[in-house]
Amino acid sequence: MSEGKDRRGRELRVKIGGEAGFGIKSAGQTLARVFMDAGLNIADLTEYPSLIRGGHNNYFLRVSKDPVFSHVEEVDVLVALNRESVDLHLDELVEGAAVIFDPADVSTTGWLPSGKLRPVPVPLKEFARQAGGTIMRNTVALGAVLALVHFPLEGLAESLREQFAHKAPEVAESNIVAAALGYQYVSQNVPDFWLKPRGIKGAPKRLLIDGNEAIGLGALAAGIGFYAAYPMTPASSILHFMAKHERDHGVVIKHTEDELAAMNMVVGASFAGARAMCATSGGGFALMNEALGMAGVSESAVVVGVITRPGPATGLPTWTEQSDLRYVIHAAQGEFPRVVLAPGDQAESFELAWKAFNLADQLQTPVIILGDSYLSDNRRSIPYPDLDSITVDRGKLVTEGDVAPHPEALGGNGEYLRFKLTEDGISTRVLPGVEGALQLGNSYEHDEYGYGQLGEPAETRIAQNEKRMRKLDLARTLVPGPNYFGVAPADADISVLCWGSTVGPLREAALWLAEEGVAVAIMQVVTMWPFPALEVADFIGDAKRTMIVEGNFTGQLQGLVREQCLLDVDHSLHRYDGRQFSPERIVAGIKEVLADA
C-alpha cells in the first residue's frame, strides 16, 4: 500500500463489501452512475466467488476529475455490510477512511478504536425496513455515502430509476426513499468528512460500460445479424446484452445446447451472409476449436469472443487471468490464418468489436477478440464514441442478384470459384441465393470450387494452403497497431510491454511514477496475431531497460516476443492468483527493478 500513500485525497475510492447474493454490484453501479452523470471519471471493480449465495462479494469504485485507468488498492470509504468486510478490507483503508456500517450487523470489536479510521454507524436495515424492505439496505448505504462526501442526492434518484426501470415504478420510488433516509441521517449525524468530490459542469457526454457491453455495442454497430452462445462466466453478459437487444435491433440470438453448437452455427450463419459472432471463456472455447479450424479452411468470416478467466479447466470462474493467449493463437489442428485482437479497455473493446467484423469479412477468416474478466466485468467511463467513424466493409462479397457481373469471381469456364486463387489470398464470396453461383463450403482441403476429393493432389493442397496463409500478409496491413503511452522508450527509465487489460493499471502506475520522476514508456500490443514483431523489436531496441507485465505464470507475451523478435526483455512481472495487477503493485515492481539497476 505504501506506493499510493501520497495519492490520498486526490480522488474518491469507495468499497462496498458484503455477502454474495445481496446485489452489491448493482448498488455500486448505481452510485457510479451518479458520479459519472455529474461529469466525473469512473473505474470500478467487482470481486465475487463462483457462488450464488455465501462467500464474500465486494464492489470497488474510483471517482476522479482526472482520467482513471484502473482500480487501485486504497479505499477512502468502506461500506461494510457485514463484519467480514471490515476484516478483509481493513488493510486497504487509508488514514482517516470512513467505515459505514450498521451496528446491528457489524460487531465493532477489534477495529473501532483504531484512531486511523472514521466509523460511521448507520441503521441501514432499520431505514430500509422503513422504506419498504430490508433488501434496500444497500440503497440506504448509497445515500449515506453521498451524504458523507457532501455530494448532492438528486443524481441518485435518477440513477435508481434507471436501475429499476424494468421493475414496477414503486420499486424505484421506495429505493429513493431509502436513499434519502440514509442521506439525511449521515448529513445530520456525521461530522464533516475530509473528501468532497465536486461534479464537473458541462463535461462531455460519456458512457459508463463494462467490456462486454462495449463488445456488444460494437457488434451491434457493425451490423451483427446472428449471435450464438452458451453461458459461461465471464462471457455470459455478452449473451445477455445481445438477447436484450434482439428485438429492437433485429438480431437472431441463440442460446445453444453447448459451445460446439454455438461456433458451428456461427459458421453456418456466416455462410448465409450474416455478420455472425459467438463468445465464451476458455472452457467453451475448447469446444469451439474444431469449428474454428473449419472457419479457417472454409474461409468463413466469423468473430469469436474469448473472455478468459484463470484455468486450467473450470479453474476460478469469477476471477481474472491472461493465460489463454497462446491457446487462442494456436488452437485447432492444422495451420490457418487468424487475427487475435486484445482490447485494453472498454473504449477499445467497442472499437475492436466493430473492426473485428470488418477484418473477418475482408480476410474471410476467424477474428478472435481476446478479453478477460477484469475488462469484461468492470465498468469505466469512456468518451462517447464517434459513431460517424464506424464503417462497414464486407470485403469481397456479392450478396444478391446474379454472379455474371462479377467476372473476378469466375473461372475460365465461367463457373463460380469459391476458392479462386488470388494474389492477396482473398476470393470473392457469393452468397447462397445469388443466381449462377453454387458455392460449397468445406472442412476438407479442397480445390478452387470447394471439392474435397480434388483437394488431395499435392499441388492443390499447396496452392490452397499458401493462398490462405497469404492472408496474414494482407492482415498485417489492416489490423490495428500497438498503442504507446508515456514517454518514448529512448527517454524512459524503463520501457514496459503489456497486452490486454493490464494496460490500465500500468498506465496508472506510469502516471504515478512520472510524479516521482520515473519516466516510463508503455507499449500495448493490441493485435496479438499476426504479431507486430517489427514494432516490438523497435520498442525494445530503443529502450534502455525493458520489462513485461502480464497476468499469467509462464510469460506468454514474453514467449511471443522471444519467438517473433528473437529478443528478450530484461524483467518481467507476473500475477496468477486471479486478481488484476493494481497500479500499486506495478509501481512497486518497477521501483524494485530500477533499484537493482
Binding site: 433485429g250 441463440k254 473449419m294 450478396t399
Partner: protein, 296 residues
C-alpha cells in the same frame, strides 16, 4: 429448374458399387426435380462420413461441415436466411453418435429443415467400426467381441422429444423414399428421415436382402395413425432387430411414423427473421438510442 442430371458434378461418385448411398442420392435428386426447387432456394449441409462425400458429386449450394456438426451449421444457415430450404445429410455415427446432442436439441426446437440420416449401422468411412445403430452382438474392429449396447432408437427418441415429423426409409425402395423426402421437405418444422442405407463393404449383416425380406410399410398397416405419438413410440420399439432373427420373426416398419401439422416452427417464433440477416450489415447500425441507457 434443375433436372436430375443438372445436380451432378464432373466427379464420379466414389461410393462403393452397390452402396445404398447411390440410391439415396438418386431419390433426392428426383425429389428435388419434382419439387421444382431452383438451386437458389435450397442449401445442403453434410456431416463427415461416406454420405458426406456426396458433397463432391452434388451440384448445389452447400456446406460440407464437420463430423457430427451438420445440424448446428445448418441451423446457422436456416436462422440467417429464411428464404433457403435447408436439407441436412448425416451418417448414423455422425448424427446419432458424435452429433447426438444436436439431434435432440434440433428436434425440440422444431427448426424448419429436413434431416436425412444415412443409417448404414456402421462407420463406413473409417473402415467399419460399430455405429450407435449397429445391432447388438455385431462384431467390428472396435467391438471384436460384439456390440454390447442397445442401438440408438432415433425414431423413439425423436418422438419422445416432441418431434413433428419422423419417418424411416429404405434405400432399396426409391419410390417410397421419394415420397418420404417430399413429405419431409414440405413439412413445416424439423423433419427426421432415417434411412436404412446398406453398406455393402463393411456391414455384411444388414444387407439389401436382409431389409427386403423384412421391411413393411406403415401406410399399408391397418389402423396405423401417424398423428398418434404413442403408436409411433410403440412402433419404434419394434424396429430393433437382431442380427440373427429370421425374416418373419423381425419385421422392420418403414414410412412416416409420426406427423404433426401446424406446430409453430422455431423460425415462426423469430419475428426478427423476416429477411436474410446479411441485410442488417449494409451500413453501420444506428446505436445512439441504445447508448442512452449507458449514459450516452
Amino acid at each position: 429448374m434443375p433436372k436430375v442430371a443438372d445436380f451432378e458434378t464432373a466427379l464420379t461418385p466414389t461410393w462403393c458399387p452397390g452402396c445404398g448411398n447411390h440410391a439415396m442420392w438418386r431419390a433426392l435428386k428426383e425429389t428435388l426435380e419434382e419439387l421444382e426447387l431452383p438451386w437458389t432456394d435450397f442449401a445442403m449441409v453434410w456431416g463427415i462420413g461416406c454420405h458426406g462425400n456426396g458433397a463432391d458429386f452434388f451440384r448445389c449450394q452447400g456446406f460440407h461441415s464437420l463430423h457430427g456438426r451438420a445440424l448446428p451449421v445448418a441451423t446457422g444457415i436456416a436462422l440467417s436466411n429464411p428464404d433457403l430450404k435447408v436439407i441436412v445429410e448425416m451418417g448414423d455415427g455422425d448424427g446419432y453418435g458424435i452429433g447426438g446432442n444436436h439431434f435432440i436439441h434440433s428436434v425440440r426446437r422444431n427448426i424448419d429443415m429436413t434431416a436425412i440420416f444415412h443409417n448404414n449401422q456402421i462407420y463406413g468411412l473409417t473402415t467399419g467400426q460399430a455405429s450407435p445403430t449397429s445391432d447388438q452382438f455385431m462384431k467390428t474392429p472396435s467391438t471384436p467381441g460384439g456390440v454390447i449396447e442397445e442401438p440408438v432408437n432415433p425414431v423413439g427418441v425423436a418422438v419422445a422429444q416432441g418431434a413433428t415429423f419422423v419417418a424411416r426409409g429404405f434405400a432399396g425402395d426409391i419410390p417410397h423414399l421419394k415420397e418420404l423426402y417430399k413429405a419431409a421437405i414440405q413439412h413445416e418444422g424439423f423433419a427426421v428421415v432415417d434411412v436404412f442405407q446398406p453398406c455393402v463393404t463393411w456391414n455384411k449383416m444388414n444387407t439389401f436382402k436382409w431389409f427386403r425380406d423384412r421391411v413393411y410399410k406403415l401406410e399399408e398397416l391397418e389402423g396405423y395413425d401417424v398423428t398418434d405419438r404413442t403408436m409411433a413410440f410403440e412402433t419404434s420399439m419394434k424396429t430393433f432387430h437382431e442380427l440373427t432373427c429370421a425374416p418373419d420373426e423381425c419385421k422392420v416398419p418403414i414410412g412416416i411414423f409420426y406427423r404433426e401439422e401446424g406446430a409453430a416452427t422455431y423460425q415462426d417464433d423469430l419475428p426478427q427473421l423476416k429477411a436474410p440477416l446479411y441485410k442488417l450489415a449494409e451500413k453501420p447500425r444506428d446505436i445512439s438510442k441504445t447508448l442512452e441507457s449507458y449514459g450516452g
